[in-house]
């Protein structure tokens, strides 16, 4: 009985310590922005989307300033399989994406040389509508 109790206790604490879908994920994502200066984070946790429905997307509105070099990067919590995609839109025009469908390649980040101050939108979703947990980071490249 004591053994079972010990094993369950260990499983509980190991599960807890390895979970990344929390504030820790912001630190992880910031550490992967290749030295750019952190400005904002966008935390997302989305359920899987049924195949006959449009995939779930978290949308955020942000102001970007003309003349600035921005970096968008995204990291996922390792206990989830969903590959996160961060995209930048101006109105309905897609400007940048971390995942290039044409190449089937996940870059995990992209840079944006902004020439126009205004309101833009960040979309965060998971490839093929999978469930996932991710943190997107907006940084300023010095």
């Amino acid at each position: 009985m004591k053994k079972i109790f010990f094993i369950l206790t260990m499983i509980f604490f190991v599960t807890l310590s390895f979970s990344q879908c929390n504030e820790k994920l912001i630190d992880i994502a910031v550490s992967q922005n290749r030295g750019a200066t952190y400005l904002k984070d966008f935390k997302v946790k989305l359920p899987a989307t049924p195949k006959n429905k449009p995939r779930a997307i978290a949308k955020f509105q942000i102001v970007l300033n003309g003349g600035n070099h921005y970096r968008f990067n995204i990291s996922k919590a390792k206990e989830f399989n969903g590959i996160p995609i961060i995209q930048l839109y101006e109105g309905s025009k897609l400007l940048g994406t971390s995942y290039l469908t044409s190449k089937q390649k996940d870059y995990k980040m992209f840079d944006f040389l902004c020439q126009k101050t205004g309101t833009y939108k960040i979309f965060i979703s998971f490839k093929d509508g999978a469930s996932g947990c991710a943190a997107g980071i907006l940084s300023l490249v010095n």
Binding site: M1, I4, F5, L8, I11, F12, T15, L16, S19, C21, N22, V30, R34, G35, T37, Y38, L39, K40, D41, K43, V44, K45, A48, A56, I57, A58, K59, F60, Q61, I62, V63, L64, N65, G66, G67, N68, E79, F80, L88, G91, K93, L95, G96, S98, L100, Y107, F110, D111, F112, L113, Q115, K116, T117, G118, T119, S131, C133, L138, L140, N142
Partner: protein, 304 residues
């Protein structure tokens, strides 16, 4: 003993399942839940209702971006631009404390980017006091921030922790229906950033800076729209009046756009998108002078 063990095992099983991060639509998580409102388009919203305050545009003002622009022009550190930390006793309402928290937050960003450790501890202490007064002091790890500032090492971490703390405050306030406080902090950061840039522009006349000041016409329109939400409060109304006057001064400033398609290039494994749509700014020296003076007056009324 057996009963206790069973109870403990049951407790851990329940707890372990509650911490299992496999998502469930019904499950809630304070950190990573997205409000339903964020999943909808908000383009056509003419006015901001208190219900949709969570949808507010983010990054309206960043303590880092204005400072980075000034530093990029080669301007030297100017301590005379900073707000004093000796006036805290004068800030006797939540309204004044919140605005000045934003002002000092922008100053901290400026100090961080110029690695001015000797001032940073003083500003952190003032920020701590204001943050605690409006019940958001828990989001600053002042011990670590002060240690980083005092050691003079790892200034990147200091910048990150400072900005992240302000972001956490912003999120907390919005989530807890205290958006009025959050808005004031944002406006404080914006006014201080504008004060820095207009003052520096007066000395060095660099196009990048004057363009940035002119383009703030767009941001000011957003800020005025947001503040109108709180015009029932006399302190907000007073601030709104001053910013509306600034908006009127901005009227003659023209911003037009040269249309172009964005280009994406891949270099060293990083995708870079170059926006080819440019803004063309028309602003007279007189307009710039009027903007500088009005910002200085608004800022004076806040910090004194």
């Amino acid at each position: 003993m057996r009963k206790i063990s069973f109870l403990l095992i049951g407790f851990f099983i329940v707890l372990a399942f509650s911490c299992n991060n496999k998502p469930n639509p019904a499950e809630t998580n304070d950190d990573f839940d997205i409000p339903d409102s964020l999943l909808q388009e908000t383009d056509s919203v003419p006015e901001i209702s208190s219900k949709s305050m969570d949808d507010l545009v983010q990054n309206i003002s960043s303590p880092i971006e204005m400072a980075a622009l000034i530093k990029a022009t080669g301007s030297k550190f100017s301590p005379e631009l900073l707000a004093s930390t000796k006036n805290l006793d004068k800030y006797n309402t939540s309204f004044k404390k919140s605005l000045n928290l934003g002002i000092l937050g922008a100053d901290l960003g400026y100090l961080n980017l110029y690695s001015q450790n000797r001032f940073i501890v003083d500003y952190l202490t003032a920020i701590k006091s204001l943050a605690e007064d409006i019940k958001v002091g828990q989001f600053f790890d002042f011990k670590t921030l002060k240690e980083l500032a005092s050691s003079g090492e790892n200034l990147d971490s200091l910048t990150y922790l400072s900005v992240h703390s302000f972001n956490k405050i912003d999120k907390y306030l919005r989530d807890n229906h205290r958006s009025n406080i959050s808005v004031l902090i944002i406006v404080g950061v914006w006014i201080e950033g504008m004060y820095f840039t207009t003052q520096i522009n007066d000395q060095v006349k660099i196009k990048d800076i004057s363009d940035r000041i002119a383009e703030q016409k767009i941001i000011l329109n957003n800020i005025v729209l947001i503040l109108k939400n709180y015009k029932g409060d006399s302190e907000f109304q007073n601030l709104l009046n001053q910013l509306t006057k600034l908006k009127e001064i901005y009227e003659p400033v023209e911003i037009t756009y040269e249309v172009g398609e964005p280009k994406t290039v891949e270099q060293d494994g990083i995708l870079t998108v170059v926006q080819n749509e440019k803004s063309i700014i028309t602003i007279t020296e007189k307009d710039m002078e009027n903007i500088k003076n009005q910002i200085a007056e608004i800022r004076y009324n806040i910090v004194n």
